[in-house]
């Protein structure tokens, strides 16, 4: 069964994991695997599973489980393992604060305020959705304007439909998936609008969420005004030029009572900031070593807290690594320090982790700035990999093996993704 809360917490833990989503669950398993005995997951919801529980569509697990699962199925598999391995789970519980000595202050309605101490902490709080304020859409402030992920929770878990006729702003995966969900639940989706000249979501979602239901996708077009006093009545949309300036002479109105915003996610790092962890301005998540340890000893981070992933399978993989290293830290068996810094170069927005060690294999995740057809990834001068095509919406990952670095004695490697020389 999916819920099995722990009644009494221990005063001391080897590893405390903040967040019981896919990252938190994999991290807890990783910590256990490395010999951490007492592991606690804290989650503010009434059950573990995180956002996967509202992602009822298939497409999860192809990498990790080699089969296609829905979000709830993927979550349930991990949770069953977590419960088998006797990880403590505190649901309906908030983490208020973590201090420098890794004392974690918790609050729940059942148990009140409690403090547990941890040898290592894993931060796995996930991300938040960007809201209307982030893009400063002009107009009135009626009800009916909400983020796509919130609408997803309303529709898929709480049983509320947001309206009757919807417009979706942003072609991120959540927006595309919600276009289909609303259609299947009987709403009319008037269109998906994307300010960029290319779609932000995965191609498969454009096919199976939009094309299948004849939902139009308008690229280089955005919502320029929101109308309505109590309830949303219509939105004005307009095409934009290369500088994203709307051409109001070509604007048009769309009557609708619902506007879903799918305009990106921001790593949730309130606790990380309280701890003064160093933050990467591009990912907006903590800077991490190859062990997924943050700039503070014994504080590990994983999942969307670090950078926004497009596949949960990669979250699980990264979180397992973070958890294993948290377990190693708690049992004092840490691996050697990193000795090479990765620097994002041409057409690379960021690399995670930020540093690597030449003595072992790493998976480095990165995101490109611009789409390219045939391209090549250069890891300094030590290694190159041909890529078929790259998009900002699809993370690029690279296995860096120790043999690439045999001849390398520097301390920084620049990573470029450039067109193949023709």
């Amino acid at each position: 069964m999916i819920t099995a809360e722990t009644q009494h917490l221990k005063p001391e833990y080897d590893v405390v994991v903040v967040g019981g989503g896919p990252a938190g669950m994999a991290a807890a398993l990783g910590a256990k695997e490395m010999g951490a005995d007492r592991v606690l997951i804290v989650d503010r919801e009434k059950e573990a599973g995180g956002i996967l529980l509202q992602c009822i569509h298939p497409g999860f697990g192809l990498q990790h489980f080699k089969e296609e699962l829905t979000g709830p199925e993927y979550a349930q598999r991990f949770l069953e393992k977590v419960l088998e391995t006797e990880v403590d789970l505190a649901t309906d519980t908030y983490v208020l604060d973590i201090d420098k000595d890794k004392r974690v202050k918790l609050m729940s309605s059942d148990r009140g305020v409690e403090i547990v101490s941890a040898k290592a902490v894993v931060l796995a709080m996930g991300a938040r959705e960007r809201t209307r304020g982030a893009i400063r859409t002009p107009g009135s402030r009626p009800s009916g304007v909400l983020t796509a992920g919130l609408a997803q929770k309303f529709v898929n878990m709480l049983g509320y439909l947001p309206g009757k006729r919807a417009v979706i702003l942003g072609s991120g995966d959540i927006g595309l998936i919600m276009a289909r969900r609303l259609t299947l639940e009987g709403l009319e989706v008037a269109g998906v609008f994307e300010i960029m000249p290319h779609a932000n979501g995965l191609n498969r979602n454009i096919v199976q969420c939009l094309h299948d239901y004849n939902i139009p996708l308008h690229l280089s077009t955005t919502v320029v005004e929101i109308h309505g006093s109590d309830r949303l009545e219509k939105v004005t949309v307009a095409p934009v030029d290369e500088t994203f300036t709307p051409d109001m002479s070509r604007s048009w109105d769309i009557p609708c009572d619902t506007l879903l915003l799918s305009i990106g996610l921001i790593p949730e790092n309130e606790l990380s900031r309280q701890l003064n962890l160093r933050i990467d301005p591009v990912t907006r998540g903590p800077i991490v070593r190859s062990t997924m340890e943050s700039s503070m000893d014994g504080v590990f981070v994983c999942g969307n807290v670090v950078h926004i992933h497009d596949l949960v399978d990669f979250v699980s993989q990264e979180a397992l690594l973070a958890g294993r290293n948290a377990g190693l830290y708690a049992t004092q068996q840490q691996p050697p320090e990193d000795n090479i810094r990765l620097v994002p170069g041409e057409n690379v927005a960021y690399c995670v982790p930020h540093t690597i060690s030449s003595d072992r294999e790493h998976t480095v995740y990165m995101r490109v700035r611009k789409p390219l057809e045939a391209s090549v990834l250069n890891l300094g001068e030590v290694y190159e990999k041909k890529l078929r095509y790259v998009f900002p919406a699809e993370m690029v990952n690279l296995k860096v093996r120790p043999r690439f670095l045999h001849e390398f004695h520097g301390d920084t490697l620049k990573v470029d993704i450039v067109p193949t020389a023709s």
Binding site: P72, E73, D92, L158, E185, L202, R204, H211, D212
Partner: protein
């Protein structure tokens, strides 16, 4: 999907985007004059090749949606088809499921609607769901 015709060869090439996994391979199906598939290109796995043929002849989709559930931890239970069904039946299936109301508790894999449209495909629960009371009592007990 875009379809381009090459008059010179009298064969027709249809382009599809694979939805089998997030890689999104660009697929090409080539047909001869007799409307037989002569070649499939662009896939990186066997599933992609099968998808291209299926999509070209009779497109199918897995369907995931939710069903109302009484006294559950949440108000909706996520459900899925056990296999893909004809694409044009998707909306009709969701309409059918909207008239159902289930009772918690339920286990993952429990059949919610058997043998939809005589396809042999069932709609099943994609998660277990306890009753809201059960969860509360376990927490207090």
């Amino acid at each position: 999907m875009t379809t381009q015709t090459h008059e010179s060869t009298a064969s027709e090439i249809s382009n599809y985007l694979c939805i089998g996994c997030p890689m999104g391979c660009r697929l090409e199906v080539e047909e001869n004059e007799a409307k037989e598939i002569v070649e499939v290109r662009g896939f990186s796995c066997r599933r992609g090749e099968q998808y291209a043929k299926q999509e070209h002849t009779e497109p199918q989709r897995m369907v995931t949606t939710t069903v109302a559930i009484n006294n559950g931890l949440w108000a909706r239970l996520p459900v899925r088809t056990t296999a893909a069904i004809p694409k044009d039946k998707t909306i009709e299936l969701c309409q059918k499921l909207r008239s159902l109301r289930l009772q918690a508790p339920i286990d993952r894999g429990d059949i919610v609607l058997p043998n939809v449209f005589d396809t042999g495909v069932d709609v099943v629960a994609s998660r277990s769901m306890k009753t809201a009371d059960e969860t509360t009592s376990s927490r207090n007990g």
